[in-house]
């Protein structure tokens, strides 16, 4: 009794079939297709990302997840369809949107505090003021001692923490993260996830995160969006209502995890969750 929830052809119907708690979409993709030359990265993708929610995108490599983030960030323009942020069409990079990649991409020619202050300076804050604010933010994550050091003097986990602080310094309302913790060891990754969760909850920002780590997806997401490739299409979206902090032993989560795993392993064309299962998971 498997029900295909979102057939590729009827993608725009998808948002309508869902009840969305937050009426404001932080980001909305409307029938977006993006091609690079003769490669179709994503095709006819419609997705609403509710404001304040933590959305995780997963799918096989090359299915266009990074492309989707670039579109939301205004670094790329859609070939067809539209992308809006807070109801306005995205035409270029926005000051309210921050990007984080798998590589921390801290500027090695600046001290750690200057890196954190970068966005503030770009917004016209005076140098001294921006640096003071950066030190304050670094102190909050226990990196006071490193504010005058170059990023090369930091460990991988510290660098990624600084990258997060840099992104949050400008108080973005939308945080786009592309496999942000993919390069970290297991333990550091768990610490970073906890840090991200607490920062996100305090900030009220909307997070869209790409990950290949199922465990991470299950621990963090309010909402999972599964993609198939290639070209990338949404196979299915599902809500995870389990309260945080979540346990890895939660049978419900484990069940979703097992299914996700199967989905990814097979890079399945269709979703395999039944309506009843969805309802049960969502009410958890």
């Amino acid at each position: 009794m498997n029900v295909r929830l979102t057939a590729p052809g009827e993608a725009p119907a998808m948002p309508a079939t869902r009840t969305i708690a937050t009426p404001n979409a932080a980001v909305e993709f409307g029938r977006v297709t993006k091609t690079f030359g003769d490669v179709t990265a994503i095709e006819d993708v419609s997705l609403r990302v509710p404001a304040g929610e933590f959305t995780v995108l997963i799918g096989p490599s090359g299915c266009g997840k990074s492309t989707l983030l670039s579109l939301a960030a205004g670094l790329e323009a859609p070939t067809e369809g539209f992308v809006t942020a807070h109801g306005r069409e995205v035409t270029g990079p926005s000051r309210d949107t921050a990007l984080i990649f798998q590589q921390h991409n801290l500027f090695p020619w600046m001290t750690t505090e200057a890196n954190v202050a970068y966005g503030l300076r770009s917004r016209g804050m005076a140098r001294r003021e921006a640096l003071a604010r950066a030190r304050e933010l670094l102190a909050m994550v226990g990196l006071s001692d490193f504010s005058k050091k170059p990023p090369t003097a930091l460990s991988g986990g510290m660098r990624q923490r600084v990258a997060l602080v840099r992104a949050f310094a400008t108080e973005p309302t939308l945080l786009l993260m592309d496999e942000p913790f993919g390069a970290l060891d297991h333990q550091t990754r768990k610490i970073m996830q906890a840090y991200l969760l607490s920062t996100w909850r305090d900030s009220g920002a909307t997070v869209v995160m790409v990950t290949h780590d199922l465990d991470e997806a299950l621990m963090l997401a309010d909402r999972l969006v599964l993609f198939t490739g290639q070209p990338g299409r949404i196979a299915e979206t599902l809500d995870i209502a389990a309260p945080r902090p979540r346990s890895r032993d939660d049978p419900g989560l484990r069940e979703i995890g097992a299914r996700l795993e199967r989905h990814l392993a097979a890079a399945a064309e269709a979703a395999e969750f039944t309506e009843a299962e969805r309802a049960r998971l969502a009410s958890r």
Partner: protein, 297 residues
Amino acid sequence: MTAQAATTHAAPADAAPEATAPPPPRRAAAPPPLSRRLARRFATPLSFVFAWAVLLGLWELGAAAGWFSDRILPPPSQTIPFLLAGEATVGFGTQRTGLMEAISVTLVRISVGLVLGLVAAIGVAFLILQVKLLRALVLPIVQSIAPISPVAWVPFAIAIVGIGDPAAIFVVFMAIFGSMCCAAVAAFDSVPQEYRKVARSLGAGTAEMWRTVLLPAAAPSLMTMVRMSFFAAWMAVLAGEMAGINSGLGYLIIMGQQMYNMKLVMVGIIAIGVVGFALDRLLLVAQRRIVWWEDAQ
């Protein structure tokens, strides 16, 4: 051979079991012990002095033993007093110019040519990166200019601006502009896309992007490029001075040849070597200062 390698490998492995192996080196690790730092600091200058002492000793010996003519290869015992006596001059009366003057004339030409070339190369690279059309229109021309031998520009230079500094500077400029510009375009092109994305998403505009991201990110390549160009400029100016720009170190050497004064030629060569080496070291120091976050070699 294999067996030997295996046994030599086994010995230290036994002596230092894994548990006591030193932690992997980190960038911010404690500095190495003083003895090693001193050794590293003095190893190069010492071996440098030593190597030259041996070569000059052999030279002196060879000249004394009559292995070669001391008229063609004047030994240090002739060249050094000649240099110290200030006899390394060309021209007569008011035209008479000394070694120091020749050096300074040549250095000014190199510096001015180098700075102009650098500024122009980065400027043109900036335009090529900013304007797509210019990449198609200008880059091919720059690429074809790059391999032209600088001496080939001498007749042109003299015809346009006459003998003297402007011609020499023009030759230096032409010698380095093309290759510097190509290198600068490549350096800017290879700045990681993520740096730009991050800077743009943090709110940087075009000017700020260039100042705070593209220039610093490309700086290590640009500094290496400047050092390479310095050598090219040094060669070009000497060739130019030999080929008709009648002043400077290159001219001094050519006059030495024409007057069959090999001591003068030798002094010119020494000056070129010493000054060139000193300036390259200076540029290396500058490079380390400017791109402090990179390991320059």
